[in-house]
């Protein structure tokens, strides 16, 4: 894993949510952490570069931001990588994971609306040659507050 120092960790612990809605948000963050604005910007750039951060910005609510659903397919294990590549190329796919189950590929398909979503799923089914299990969210119970990073556990694997 990337070597993170104390400032990196404090940034991640303090600002997975609540980025200041300020003309100079990184200056406001810097002030709270007792460092310079330039240091915060540099760290965020480095963390983004090293892929620790996917981005700095909003997480949109799936249900309100457009149409989306969790989908799964069952493909032979030997064809899993090839099928995953087809899914990754399909427009609107964000997460795509192999999981331990007969339904061995799980992905989130998004679109601007339900009609576009369904047409994307149908096109993908045709290309893959297997049916796609469609599991839209019916009710969400969790408020996304970010995830507390267990730094101590990461140090003593």
């Amino acid at each position: 894993m990337a070597a993170l120092d104390e400032l990196d960790r404090r940034l991640i612990d303090a600002f997975q949510r609540g980025l200041p809605l300020d003309s100079r948000p990184f200056a406001a963050m810097a002030e709270r952490l007792g460092v310079s604005e330039a240091a915060v910007i540099e760290r965020l750039r480095e963390l983004q570069q090293s892929q620790v951060l996917s981005r700095v910005g909003p997480v949109f609510d799936h249900a309100l931001a457009g149409a989306s659903l969790l989908a799964a397919v069952a493909v032979p294990e030997a064809e899993r990588d090839a099928a995953a590549a087809v899914i990754n190329r399909s427009p609107g796919v964000n997460h795509n994971y192999a999981r331990e189950h007969d339904f061995n590929l799980w992905f989130v398909m998004t679109a601007a609306d339900e009609v576009q979503l369904e047409s994307r799923l149908e096109a993908l089914e045709e290309e893959l040659g297997v049916p796609v299990l469609r599991l839209p969210m019916l009710e969400g119970f969790h408020i996304d507050l970010g995830f507390p990073i267990p730094w101590a556990e990461l140090e003593t694997p």
Binding site: M1, A2, L4, L11, I12, F15, Q16, R17, G18, L19, L21, S23, R24, P25, I41, L44, Q48, Q51, V52, L53, S54, V56, G57, P58, V59, F60, D61, L64, A65, G66, L70, I87, N88, R89, P91, G92, V93, H95, N96, Y97, E100, H101, L105, V108, T110, A111, L133, R134, L135, P136, F141, H142, D144, L145, G146, F147, P150, E153, L154, P157
Partner: protein
């Protein structure tokens, strides 16, 4: 475009909240005045951009605003999707309880798809190692009295793609240019 995106007072001609959303889905530019940089790219003033973001936060379209961490890159590699088959009349109540468990990072109710898929409640548990995730799950089953509830643990074997959702049509055409079908 859904009703949440409709402005209450029309911004000036050419200003595009849809464009702003597409840009935000890619993250803020890491410069001193990121909102101003976004404003210039979508024909708004900085205040208008901040106004939209505040409004979307208030409406719940934006769930949180901040650092979006790639857990895998940090070493948090055990990622279990735990699925449960609960009676319909108690599934929502159990979902609300599971969501309060600190180890549970996401919790959703989804439809069954019989006969292939009998599970109607999904939650995610992340951790550094498989045995720690399983220990958290055992604690949860104990605390929530879920011994009798059929469930499955689907650990992830490989992440083929992990990125934020992109919903706007504008972004869409961009994506097709970036990833033409083979």
């Amino acid at each position: 475009m859904n009703s949440l995106s409709m402005p209450s007072t029309l911004p000036h001609r050419g200003a595009s909240p849809e464009r702003l959303r597409a840009l935000l889905e890619r993250g803020l530019p890491l410069t001193e005045q990121p909102w101003l940089a976004l404003a210039e790219q979508c024909g708004m003033s900085e205040d208008e951009v901040l106004g939209w973001v505040e409004r979307w936060q208030h409406e719940g379209l934006i769930k949180r605003l901040g650092l979006v961490v790639r857990h895998h890159a940090l070493g948090i590699r055990a990622n279990a999707m735990v699925v449960w088959d609960l009676p319909d009349d108690i599934v929502s109540e159990v979902g609300r309880r599971l969501a309060k468990e600190s180890a549970v990072t996401l919790c959703y109710r989804r439809p069954r798809r019989l006969p292939d898929w009998p599970y109607n409640l999904f939650c995610m548990i992340h951790g550094t190692q498989r045995d720690r995730v399983l220990a958290s799950l055992a604690d949860i089953i104990e605390r929530q009295q879920l011994h009798q509830t059929p469930h499955r643990v689907l650990f992830s074997l490989k992440a083929y793609k992990q990125r934020g959702g992109r919903y706007t049509r504008e972004d869409d055409s961009h994506e097709r240019r970036a990833c033409p079908p083979a």
